[in-house]
C-alpha cells in the first residue's frame, strides 16, 4: 500500500496528464481520436527532442537559454548548405548537427572554464547565434529543399509520422544516458553537490562541457526537424523555444536547483503542454487566454511540487 502511494506521488505528473486528457475528451468530441492524438505528438516533437538536452542541463543545476537560437541557427545553416552551397542533404544534416554540438560545447567551456553563470553565458550565446542566423541569410528565408530532406519532418513510417519517431528515439537515448550510463550518475552527482562530486573524482568541467554539448546537439536535431517540416529556413524559427522547453522540463518535476528529476516524467511534461495547447484550440479558447492558462498550469504543477518537497523536508526533520 505504501509502495502504491509512493508510486502515485512520484508519478503525480502522469495523474495530472490523465486527468487533463479525460477533461478534454469529455469537453471536445474531436479530442480523443487517433488522428488528433498523433497530431498532438507531432506538435510536441520539436520541443520534445530539445527537452532531452535541457533535462541534462537542468539536472546539472544549469539552464540553457541558447536552445531557441541554436534551433534558428541550425535551421538557417542547414538550409544554406543545401540550397546555397548545393550540398548533399545527408552531409548537410551531419555538419549542421556537428555545428550545433559545437555551439553547446562552447557554452559549456564558457561556463566551466571561465565560470560565467549559465544564465548569462547562454543568454549571450542566444543573442550571438540569433545574430549569426540573420547575417547568414541576410534576413531572408531560405527554401526549396529536396524531396528526401522533407521526409524528415513530413514523412511517415507506417502510420506514424517520422518526427514522432525521432522524438521517441531521442527520449530513449535520454533514458539510457540517465539510467544506464555512468555519465548519468555523474549528472545527478554534479547537480546535487558540485563540490562533493569533484572530491569524489568526477571531472566536473568535462562533464559540464559534455552536458551543454548534448543540449546543443538535441537542439540541433530539433532545428533540423523543424526545417524539414516547415519547408523553409527562417532566422527566427526557434524564437522563444527555450522557454517552452524549460516549461516542459519543469513540469516534468526536474528540480531547477539540480540533482533530481526523471526523464520519464519530462515526457509527461512535454505531453501536458501538447495536450493543453491542442485541447484549448479544439475548445476555441482564444490564443491570449491560452497564454494565461499555460502560465497558471506551470505555477500549479511546480508549486505543488515545492509544497510536496517542503512537507518531505519537515517530515524528515521531525523524524
Amino acid at each position: 500500500m505504501k509502495n502504491i502511494s509512493k508510486a502515485i506521488k512520484e508519478r503525480a505528473i502522469y495523474t495530472f496528464l490523465i486527468l487533463m486528457v479525460l477533461f478534454f475528451a469529455v469537453a471536445s468530441p474531436n479530442f480523443l481520436t487517433a488522428k488528433n492524438l498523433i497530431n498532438v505528438a507531432k506538435q510536441v516533437s520539436i520541443f520534445g527532442v530539445a527537452s532531452v538536452g535541457m533535462t541534462f542541463v537542468i539536472l546539472l543545476g544549469g539552464i540553457d537559454l541558447a536552445t531557441g537560437s541554436i534551433i534558428s541557427f541550425i535551421n538557417i545553416v542547414c538550409a544554406y548548405f543545401m540550397v546555397n552551397l548545393g550540398m548533399n542533404p545527408i552531409l548537410a544534416v551531419i555538419i549542421a548537427l556537428l555545428i550545433s554540438t559545437l555551439c553547446g560545447f562552447l557554452n559549456g567551456v564558457v561556463i566551466a572554464e571561465i565560470g560565467i553563470t549559465p544564465l548569462i553565458a547562454t543568454f549571450a550565446s542566444q543573442t550571438i547565434l540569433s545574430g549569426l542566423a540573420y547575417i547568414l541569410c541576410n534576413g531572408r528565408p531560405i527554401s526549396r529543399f529536396s524531396e528526401g530532406f522533407l521526409k524528415i519532418g513530413q514523412g511517415t513510417i507506417g502510420a506514424i509520422p517520422i518526427p514522432i519517431l525521432i522524438m521517441v528515439v531521442c527520449f530513449i537515448i535520454g533514458v539510457f544516458i540517465l539510467n544506464k550510463s555512468y555519465f548519468g550518475r555523474y549528472f545527478y552527482a554534479l547537480g546535487g553537490n558540485m563540490e562533493a562530486a569533484e572530491l569524489s573524482g568526477i571531472p566536473v568541467k568535462k562533464i559540464t562541457c559534455l552536458v551543454y554539448s548534448l543540449s546543443g546537439l538535441f537542439a540541433g536535431i530539433a532545428g533540423i526537424v523543424m526545417l524539414s517540416r516547415a519547408n523553409t529556413g527562417q532566422p527566427n524559427a526557434g524564437l522563444g523555444y527555450e522557454f517552452d522547453v524549460i516549461t516542459c522540463v519543469a513540469l516534468g518535476g526536474v528540480s531547477l536547483s539540480g540533482g533530481s528529476g526523471k526523464m520519464s516524467n519530462v515526457i509527461a511534461g512535454v505531453l501536458i503542454i501538447g495536450v493543453l495547447s491542442n485541447g484549448m484550440v479544439l475548445m476555441n479558447v482564444s490564443s491570449y487566454m491560452q497564454l494565461v492558462i499555460k502560465g497558471i498550469i506551470l505555477l500549479l504543477a511546480v508549486g505543488s511540487d515545492c509544497i510536496q518537497r517542503k512537507r518531505l523536508l519537515i517530515a524528515s526533520k521531525a523524524g
Binding site: I177, K180, S181, Y182, F183, R185, Y186, Y188, A189, G192, N193, E195, A196, A197, E198, L199, S200, G201, I202, P203, G259, S260, S316
Partner: protein, 500 residues
C-alpha cells in the same frame, strides 16, 4: 550579585542531542577588567559566548547582566544591556561607508532623510575616542582586515557596549595590526569597558588579561590572576585529563620500513616549507590549532589547490595531482571534515556514493555493470558495517557516523592506498567514534597508510604513530610515539612566528 560585576554566569549548562557542550559553568566578569577565556578546541568557549550574546539559549542556569537576571538572552536583549561581540566573521557591509556601518540599522535621520553629515561626525567622535585613524567616509571593503575589525569594535562601542566579547581577535591580523589591537583594548579598558578575550596565543593573554578562566571539555576548571600564573600552568590546566580508553590497540608491526608518501619542502595554499614522510601502514597525526594550515595542506595533497614549490613523492615516484581525480588515480583519498557538504552526496543512495569514483571502471563502454555496482556496495556495507536497511537508502537519512563510513567505503572501493582523514570524528557520538578508530586500525593492518588531521588532542595521541604539529602554516614540531605529550603538542601548536 556584587556591584563590581558587569556579568555573572551562574551554573550555565547547555545540552545538545547526545552531547553536553557546557556543564555547570559559573563565571564572573568585573567592571573594567580584561578577562581571558582559554581552552582547547571544543572546550566550550564559543558555546559560552554565544550564551552571552543570545545566539543560543542555555538549557539551565542564569545570566546576570548589570544586576538584571535573565534565563536566556536574545541578540537584541544582549545588545540593549551593553554586551557587544566581535566575532571572527565580521558583520559588516562592504559596499557601505565606515560611518554607515557603525550606524547600521540605527541611521541618524532628519525626517525620512538620512543625515549623512551627523553620522560621519558621530563616527568620528567614536573613532577618535578609540584612537583609530580611519576616514568615516571610505567604503569598508577597501579596508584591511585589521581596520575592518576596528570598525566592528567602534560599532559596538557606539552602541554603548559595556562588555565586549572578542573571539580570537588577533587570529586574522598581521603583527602591526595586533599591536594596534592591543592599544585599542588598553583604551577600552581605561574607559571602563570590560572585555572577554578569547585566544589561543598564550603570550598575548599575559600581555592583556587581568584574569584568566580555563575551560575544558565543557567544564569550568579555574579562574586565576594572570600575574600569578605562567604558560606552563595554563597549558596543564587546559589539557589536564587522562586519555580515556576508547582507542583500540593495534599491532606495532603495522608500520613497514617502506616510505609510501613524502612531502619534500612543499609550499602553497598558505603553507610554507612542509616536509614529512608517511610509511606504509603508518598513522601520521597532523596536530595544530584551527587555521594552522592543516586542511590547506590536505587540499594540496588531494589536488584541490596548487603547490607553489616543493615535490610530492608517492611510492618513490614524483606526483603532482592537478585535481582530485588525479589524486584518486595516484591512490590518495580524502575524508573531509565537512561530511555533509564535501563528503557524501546527500541526495544519492549509499550504492551510488560508494561507486562514484569507480563508475567508469565498472562500466563497459558507457554502460554501468549494475551487478558489479550492487555487489561492490553490498561488500563494503558488510565489511565496515554501515547500518542501513538497504544500500538504496539515501545518504541523507544516515547518522553522521554511518555517513562517515560511506565516505570511507568509497575510498576502499576505489582502492586508494593513502587516506587523509580531516577531523574524522567531529560531530560523531562516542560509540561510532570507536568504530571509526577500529576501521583506521584495520586499514593500516592491511598496508594502507593514514594521515589524520585532528584538533582533539587525545585522539591525536591515541591513534597516531607519529605526530607533526603545524603552526601558522609551518611545521613547528615532530614527535615520535614515546615523546607524545599533550603539553608539548600544545606548546608547539601555540608557537607564534615571534618565537619560531
Amino acid at each position: 550579585m556584587s556591584a563590581d560585576n558587569i556579568l555573572e554566569l551562574q551554573h550555565i549548562t547547555k545540552y545538545y542531542p547526545g552531547v553536553i557542550a557546557l556543564n555547570d559553568v559559573s563565571l564572573e566578569i568585573k567592571r573594567g577588567e580584561v578577562h581571558a577565556l582559554v581552552g582547547e578546541n571544543g572546550a566550550g568557549k564559543s558555546t559560552l559566548i554565544k550564551t552571552c550574546s543570545g545566539a543560543i539559549s542555555p538549557s539551565e542556569g542564569t545570566i546576570i547582566v548589570n544586576g538584571k537576571q535573565f534565563e536566556r538572552m536574545t541578540p537584541i536583549i544582549s545588545r540593549e544591556n551593553g554586551i557587544g561581540v566581535i566575532y571572527q566573521e565580521f558583520d559588516l557591509v562592504g559596499d557601505l561607508s565606515v560611518a554607515e556601518n557603525i550606524f547600521l540599522g540605527r541611521a541618524i535621520r532628519k525626517g525620512i532623510v538620512i543625515d549623512r553629515a551627523a553620522m560621519v561626525n558621530e563616527s568620528k567622535k567614536v573613532l577618535d575616542a578609540l584612537n583609530i585613524e580611519i576616514d568615516p567616509n571610505v567604503l569598508v571593503k577597501t579596508l584591511s582586515v585589521g581596520y575592518q575589525q576596528m570598525v566592528e569594535i567602534a560599532k559596538a562601542v557606539s552602541q554603548n557596549a559595556q562588555l565586549l566579547i572578542m573571539d580570537e581577535p588577533s587570529a586574522p591580523l598581521t603583527k602591526q595590526e595586533v599591536q594596534s589591537l592591543y592599544d585599542i583594548v588598553d583604551t577600552l579598558k581605561a574607559n571602563g569597558v570590560s572585555i572577554i578575550y578569547i585566544s589561543h596565543r598564550l603570550e598575548e593573554i599575559f600581555r592583556l588579561a587581568d584574569r584568566v578562566t580555563i575551560l575544558r571539555d565543557g567544564q569550568y576548571v579555574k579562574t586565576v590572576n594572570a600575574e600569578d600564573t605562567d604558560e606552563d600552568e595554563l597549558i596543564s590546566f587546559m589539557v589536564g585529563r587522562k586519555l580515556t580508553e576508547i582507542y583500540p590497540k593495534r599491532s606495532s608491526e603495522c608500520v613497514k620500513n617502506e616510505i609510501m608518501f613524502e612531502a619534500d619542502h612543499v609550499s602553497g595554499n598558505g603553507d610554507t616549507d612542509i616536509s614529512f614522510k608517511i610509511h606504509r601502514g603508518e598513522v601520521v597525526g597532523l596536530g595544530g590549532l584551527v587555521g594552522a594550515g592543516r586542511t590547506e595542506f590536505a587540499e594540496l595533497m588531494f589536488g584541490m589547490n596548487k603547490k607553489t614549490s616543493g615535490r610530492f613523492l608517492f611510492n618513490g615516484r614524483e606526483v603532482s595531482p592537478k585535481n582530485p581525480r588525479e589524486a584518486i588515480e595516484i591512490g590518495i583519498g580524502l575524508v573531509p571534515e565537512d561530511r555533509k557538504q564535501k563528503g557524501v552526496l546527500l541526495g544519492m543512495s549509499i550504492k551510488n556514493n560508494i561507486n562514484m569514483p569507480i563508475y567508469q571502471r565498472i562500466s563497459k563502454g558507457a554502460v554501468i555493470n549494475k551487478k558489479k555496482e550492487q555487489s561492490i556496495a553490498e561488500k563494503y556495507r558488510k565489511e565496515i558495517t554501515i547500518k542501513t536497511p538497504s544500500i538504496e537508502q539515501l545518504s541523507k537519512n544516515l547518522s553522521g557516523g554511518n555517513q562517515q563510513k560511506v565516505v570511507l567505503a568509497k575510498w576502499l572501493a576505489a582502492d586508494t592506498e593513502l587516506l587523509i582523514f580531516d577531523e574524522p570524528t567531529r560531530g560523531i557520538d562516542v560509540g561510532a567514534k570507536h568504530e571509526i578508530y577500529s576501521l583506521i586500525n584495520t586499514l593500516v593492518e592491511k598496508g594502507k597508510s593514514v594521515l589524520m588531521i585532528s584538533s582533539e588532542m587525545s585522539e591525536l595521541i591515541g591513534m597516531s604513530d607519529r605526530i607533526f604539529v603545524l603552526a601558522e602554516g609551518r611545521i613547528s614540531g615532530e614527535l615520535n610515539k614515546e615523546e607524545f605529550d599533550q603539553e608539548v603538542i600544545m606548546r608547539f601548536a601555540s608557537k607564534s612566528k615571534v618565537e619560531g
